[in-house]
Symmetry: C2
Subunit: 139 residues, 2 copies
């Protein structure tokens, strides 16, 4: 998988966090897939199914003026045909979460079809065998 292939996926993932942090419902709505089935698991919430319900949840979250800014780092991308998975770290109000964001290709663009975020331990990951640097998204 080339860096070039991953770049549009990382860009779509950044649209998600920008919309989230700027509480921009129109941008969030534009990012979520129109035709593929969608789901969303906000931390501590039961899973939400169907676009209408998922977007209602985002309308509530983004409409909350107390909603903290969310930043994203450590994006790793897995692509499988017309589906892409981004695994990344979220920082929200000093807490670290880990997220799985899934995108489907619709009309040539990567659109979000699923998001799950949950707690991530504060400690550093155990040493893993690393991919060559050329295979990772650096930022």
């Amino acid at each position: 998988m080339s860096q070039d292939e991953r770049q549009p996926v990382v860009a779509a993932n950044r649209v998600f966090y920008k919309a989230f942090s700027e509480r921009d419902f129109a941008a969030m709505d534009g990012l979520w897939a129109r035709r593929s089935p969608v789901a969303c698991i906000h931390p501590g919430w039961p899973p939400i199914f169907q676009r209408e319900n998922v977007m209602a949840s985002w309308r509530g979250i983004l409409g909350n003026e107390q909603q903290a800014t969310v930043t994203c780092s450590d994006e790793r991308v897995l692509i499988n045909g017309d589906t892409a998975i981004v695994i990344c770290t979220e920082k929200v109000a000093g807490n670290a979460l880990v997220a799985t964001n899934i995108f489907a290709r619709e009309d040539g663009a990567w659109r979000m079809i699923h998001h799950q975020a949950g707690p991530r331990p504060a400690e550093e990951p155990k040493k893993q065998k690393e991919e060559p640097a050329s295979k990772r998204i650096l930022h």
Copy 2:
């Protein structure tokens, strides 16, 4: 999406929980994809990348005689081409978790490429607009 299309995905998801509960490393190893890139987020762990690292984590977990049985319910399936997503509830030692399990089609079989599980609230989900019963996996 037909029930028939979803059934092999649900079956693959059940292989995962059976292998988990029976601490059957060979079955778990057989389920994970060989060619597609894989990742895994165990609850409270940092994300793990690469098959070798993911399987090492399962070898540790399944080798632990104290590992509690894990049951799965409420499977919901989203299929996008050669990728399938199962969202389900896990019960582990009386605790409810919510999981996203992702499968890729390899040689005609659904193989696991990603797993994330995290805490699920104890309370009942807020009322959502439901899909017609015919579109849901019942069990």
